[in-house]
Symmetry: C2
Subunit: 472 residues, 2 copies
Amino acid sequence: MKNCLMILFVAILGSVNISNAQTSDSLTIRKIYDMSLLNGKSYAWLDHLSNEIGGRLSGSYNAQRAVEYTKAQLEELGLDKVWLQPVMVPKWTRGEREFAYVQTGPGETRNVNITALGGSIATPDGGTKAEVIEVQGLEQLKEYGKENIKGKIVFFNRPMRADHISTFDAYGGCVDQRYSGAEEAAKYGAAGVIVRSLNLRLDDLPHTGSMSYVDTPADKRIPAAAISTNDAEYLSGMLKIKKDLKLYFKLNCEVFPDVKSYNVIGEITGSENPDKIMVIGGHLDSWDLGDGSHDDGAGVVQSMEVLRLFKEIGYKPKNTLRVVLFMNEENGLRGGNKYAEVARTKGENHFFALESDAGGFTPRGFGITATNAQFDKILSWKPLFEPYLIHYFKRGGGGADISPLKDGNIVLAGLIPDSQRYFDHHHAANDTFDAVNKRELELGAATMASLVYLVDKYGLDNINKGKKQLKD
Amino acid sequence: MKNCLMILFVAILGSVNISNAQTSDSLTIRKIYDMSLLNGKSYAWLDHLSNEIGGRLSGSYNAQRAVEYTKAQLEELGLDKVWLQPVMVPKWTRGEREFAYVQTGPGETRNVNITALGGSIATPDGGTKAEVIEVQGLEQLKEYGKENIKGKIVFFNRPMRADHISTFDAYGGCVDQRYSGAEEAAKYGAAGVIVRSLNLRLDDLPHTGSMSYVDTPADKRIPAAAISTNDAEYLSGMLKIKKDLKLYFKLNCEVFPDVKSYNVIGEITGSENPDKIMVIGGHLDSWDLGDGSHDDGAGVVQSMEVLRLFKEIGYKPKNTLRVVLFMNEENGLRGGNKYAEVARTKGENHFFALESDAGGFTPRGFGITATNAQFDKILSWKPLFEPYLIHYFKRGGGGADISPLKDGNIVLAGLIPDSQRYFDHHHAANDTFDAVNKRELELGAATMASLVYLVDKYGLDNINKGKKQLKD
């Protein structure tokens, strides 16, 4: 009986402590959201990045301007350290605007909205003109074989599936066509590749994105481009009634030697554990067609905002908090790799990294790569997020730039915004500032800051590992 | 021990049953979402309603065209019954476009974006020109008193609070200025009223909406209009440096005698309980500035889609399912009142009503007015919604049109879409088709259909009441 009473007593004490902690935490989190929504800076930063600078392809002047602008802004926040981390990045340029048409007969042509894929070679000076063979995916190349493909333009037309609830799942189911289409089609002697844009809507905007020739010899490489979903529908329809129609396209891309660029880094040094590091970030580079507001201007300014919010509400993290604005996520991931390489060389202890690179839409939750115990610990904070309609804590996730930090100990997390509109804008000319809603962007920044606050305060020690250490 | 085994056995059986039911339900719900996302009709219906018909103010030709169009579309679905329910509605017209300017000195004027509030009288033929007194709310009128207000234009400028997470809460905190501003200001002898638009963004669009003079005598009524948030900021700033500036505005509204209109109703008669009725709906009328795509074209087509989805997947509801497209939600609620009045007269048994009238954005969940037991029953279905990222089940809610059905037994529910962008468009010229995302609209329709399916299958008997009846 005595034991029972004792247990009860301890349990009550424990719940009182939890309850007090939760009240204090909920007040801090309320302050974070209020500051972001009432006196946020993320939207003004994004306005500058998008409208005064614009698209920021790696190796471009604009990418350098973005480095200088964000570094200056971080310096104004009064962080403990701000620095540039040099990294060599690829320099690929689009050149003059691309042009394409379908020819169905003598003089009968229709223009097609086209954009070169990032990394593609140019077409010959006179362009590429050939018959078209439509396939629904890489695996269909084998089925058709060299005899049907040689000398033709391969048209990858498998659409994104509308029945996926997360549009990222739909993207994941199609992106191989864009990334590997040219590499694979070249093996069958294709003259070029065009890919249906990775967009769930039917519209006239071609969506670019990275592709790779991997180890295809230079003389075997073929040009690769994306056409709009409306044009993909048109072309597919025409091919049904006229199999020998020809497509003409002209790309003017060029590859230059690598260029020196930078990750932009700012730090609030931890008050108790300066050697334990939390990283938050997004990528500073973007494609060149729009101004990169959703991908990933939003993630950049939200990450900067997390540090500003802590400064403004007077929260001093116990652990070191770094914002890293990664260079070259889109066509190389050189920034992410460089950051992880330097961290390893220096023997730095990173225990948490959070990336925002899924658009500036209403935040819904986080994807988290962690042990079960760590995930459960984060899940125990869920009630603190519910007043902000953050309900979704998903196992698995993170971000491309922070993925090279993965080492079996670090917890990786990615902000999950609402994904429904993301691919309407992704890598296209309409990824622009007007497509970002101020409140949605600010809610995302506050949601990130709230998670970082809890991680900093309560830690993410691997509980299993901890137990083992206690036994030792 | 035997008892324990028995209990265990029953518990396992029970969980197997629950698990089988959940599997069958999850398959049906998957079918519903697939049908809506892959072969939905809601977006095409909305396209017609918005682009071929347009704004549908009660009593207008467009409202009548919307009645005829939606009735014809429901008839094509092969429902058991489709009919029109007559209802007399107010007819208020905006007339020629409104005009307003601020005069800061001789010849120094700046035009102001203005729109009459629905129900307002016109200004005199020559317009109204007077000094302006800015207030932050109805209660401040008393503070200033007749001596400061008489003959002036009262400018209600309390902004929507950005720190509310639900923008509807922010709206609720300000809408009294729009609805009652003229009634209250008239008591102090004001010459007119202008209200800061109910919008969280700073932009140039004035937002209309209903107002009421209540029992203000006709000769004491004063004209009332909304100005854009940018103009509200400008005017407030100017008033700080020039207290005696004058505002001119001209409204051309007119009130006509009531007009006969209709609720549009379609029904799938229940296969087991034809006398037990579930209602789903939205309102067919809209304001006239945009085309009413979000408010409430979205709710109309989503509600129609629920019945179509059931037809397509071959689900025959046990209870009667009615879609009601209510007329005159915006400036009178006559349709909602008429429907409830007829239902009561006929002694109809409505046990569930679901409205969609919060925009066609990504669905997040439902607001539910029910007993605790009923709410808990609905909450037990939450796992079935989680694959669709529907996480939010909130106590309280429903919709204006279904609220007159409230009788202590019926469960009222409202679809809760993401609210962040809603008031960017609400009652303004940019509430248009292009602001609605196809997938978000379709997800909303499927989410509604899934709840209706579960309510139909498992019922919503008030469990407390049920127990009592067992005892009797």
